[in-house]
């Protein structure tokens, strides 16, 4: 039987959910999941969250929908750490109200990472924090270290498995994959 997923967009740019809806393998994903993003009063297995909570109305919406869902999934870096990504001090992740079962960082996550998340859910694998920094990704791709050139780069404290698009063009990492080791 298919698992049901409800998409709830809080405060964020909408790019992560759009990435999901544009996924080249969405047809295959939909063989295992029913995905809803319009008004639905039914309960769901998973509540996917994009973005953070910045006002009472969003808090109320999240409370109502998470109450009808078995698990929550933080989808994208904004959901994981909205204050850091949006630079909004008042923004907080939905996980302050209900602990997430899975989280996927990235701004936005790649198609491969999204596939990986669904595969984990299907196989019922536990979620694990990324414990390698962006620096490891730079080293693997033999990109010269920007910090050693005196450039302020957040790679050392940012979750890795990154495509390092920024360092590739000598631009410093700004931490869009959120801090290392946070689950």
């Amino acid at each position: 039987m298919k698992k049901s997923i409800k998409l709830l967009r809080l405060e964020g740019c909408g790019g992560c959910f759009q990435k999901l809806l544009n996924h080249p393998r969405l047809s295959e994903i939909s063989e295992h999941f029913d995905i809803h993003h319009s008004e639905s009063s039914n309960g769901h297995d998973y509540l996917f969250i994009e973005g953070g909570i910045i006002n009472g109305e969003q808090e109320k919406m999240f409370k109502e929908m998470s109450g009808k869902s078995k698990s929550i999934v933080l989808f994208g870096s904004c959901a994981k750490n909205p204050a850091q990504i949006l630079k909004m001090k008042e923004a907080r992740p939905a996980s302050t109200m209900k602990e997430e079962e899975y989280s996927l960082v990235g701004c936005s996550p790649s198609y491969e990472e999204i596939t990986g998340l669904f595969s984990k859910i299907i196989l019922e694998k536990k979620d694990e924090a990324i414990n390698t920094p962006v620096c490891d990704d730079c080293q693997k791709k033999e990109i010269n270290c920007l910090m050693l050139k005196g450039i302020e780069c957040q790679g050392a404290k940012t979750s890795g498995n990154c495509e390092i698009l920024c360092p590739k063009i000598s631009k410093e990492c700004t931490g869009c994959r959120t801090s290392l080791g946070e689950r």
Partner: protein, 383 residues
């Protein structure tokens, strides 16, 4: 009361018996978030206002800072930024057509739609990936590009990338042209509502990055002066407004399509939106091809500048409509105040008016049908 959480961070509540729409203004959160941020990093914040206008908001921020600090960017920088903005318009319009408009009123939900129209969906998805690739080549990251910075561009397109982009653009034109018949079938009601409209305007081009503001048949005004004077009752902005103002300056294929379909100007019906965005995307693709074919990119040094106490503004056209940014900056180069006027905010009154004028009898429709019709109408405003 019903509530839709689907639409781009805007909560919409309405009562069926007496429609009253409340459109929340998100910008004030981003204006607050900009305070204390280094001006040269403002785009890191504004890029995340809305993913479908991410590149545009980035460029709006950077241009406002360049205006504030008196930085003159090169012709090549302007050209590459125009390529970026037109590519984002292509991508956003395609997303709107293939993932919102075509599935609406057709099937129960998006997944049901793609299962029913598997072959067409696959082709459309491949074309969206191509549009995404354009943004990745130009911006070096998608969404939230990193290649344009205050003062210029970090990495110019290589010759191979130029050829790749031209091929991608031609494929996108072909896909969109093939979709026009399906969009013609989606034409819903005839609502003669858009009686006042505005957009960026220039005498000899269709501007997205610079220009004056033209309101319908009035004389074009300086953009900053226009926004300082006009605090409310904004004319309608967006692709329909741009096409009304710039109808004589469209690309060859766009012009041919307009003649073939028999579009009459000025366009006043919001339900013309699907055709307009498909044609505008084709126009943008052709302009990008012309630009790429006629330009040889060369490495440039970006101008050196120092932050100073100043005020800067910029006015750009995003996929959704005209956006205005203005920042007050202190002598340390940090933002002390920001004002952002978004596209959707300017269209608030038109959106409310359109919903109240929906020509259906609520008593003859189910709640679900009503919701679908209203949601489809909101798609016409890029919400």
């Amino acid at each position: 009361m019903m509530q839709s959480s689907k639409h781009s961070g805007i909560g919409i509540k309405f009562e069926i018996t007496s429609p009253a729409i409340e459109i929340k203004k998100r910008n004030h959160y981003f204006e607050k978030a900009l305070v204390g941020v280094k001006a040269v990093e403002a785009h890191e914040v504004t890029s995340r206002i809305d993913f479908s206008t991410s590149f545009t908001n980035t460029l709006a921020s950077q241009q406002a800072i360049e205006d504030a600090f008196g930085i003159e960017v090169s012709k090549q920088t302007k050209l590459i930024r125009e390529l970026m903005i037109r590519s984002e318009i292509i991508h956003s319009h395609m997303i709107q057509v293939y993932t919102r408009i075509l599935p609406s009123l057709d099937e129960e939900n998006y997944l049901a739609y793609i299962r029913k129209h598997e072959k067409e969906y696959k082709k459309a998805n491949e074309a969206i990936q191509k549009a995404e690739r354009l943004l990745l080549v130009l911006g070096k990251r998608f969404p939230h590009q990193i290649n344009s910075v205050v003062g210029g561009i970090l990495v110019i397109p290589s010759e191979d990338e130029k050829k790749e982009m031209i091929k991608l653009l031609k494929d996108v034109i072909s896909q969109l042209t093939g979709t026009i018949p399906s969009l013609l079938k989606k034409q819903q009601y005839s609502l003669d509502l858009i009686d006042n409209y505005s957009s960026l305007w220039e005498l000899e081009s269709t501007p997205y990055l610079y220009g004056k503001i033209k309101v319908k048949d009035e004389e074009a005004k300086d953009a900053r002066q226009y926004y300082l004077e006009r605090k409310k009752d904004y004319p309608f902005v967006g692709p329909i407004s741009r096409m009304n103002n710039n109808k004589k300056l469209l690309s060859t294929s766009a012009e041919k399509l307009i003649k073939k379909i028999g579009i009459k100007f000025p366009i006043t019906n919001p339900y013309s939106f699907p055709l307009v965005i498909a044609i505008e995307a084709i126009h943008c693709a052709e302009r990008n091809i012309e630009s790429l074919q006629s330009t040889h990119f060369e490495h440039e040094t970006r101008p050196i500048f120092s932050p100073k106490k100043s005020v800067g503004h910029s006015c750009v056209e995003s996929a959704k409509g005209t956006i205005y940014h203005e920042y007050d900056i202190d002598d340390k180069g940090e933002i002390i105040n920001a004002r952002i006027l978004s596209d959707v905010e300017q269209n608030e009154e038109m959106i409310k008016k359109s919903v109240t004028k929906l020509p259906f009898d609520p008593d003859k429709k189910t709640r679900k049908q009503l919701m679908q019709e209203i949601e489809y109408l909101l798609e016409m405003f890029y919400i």
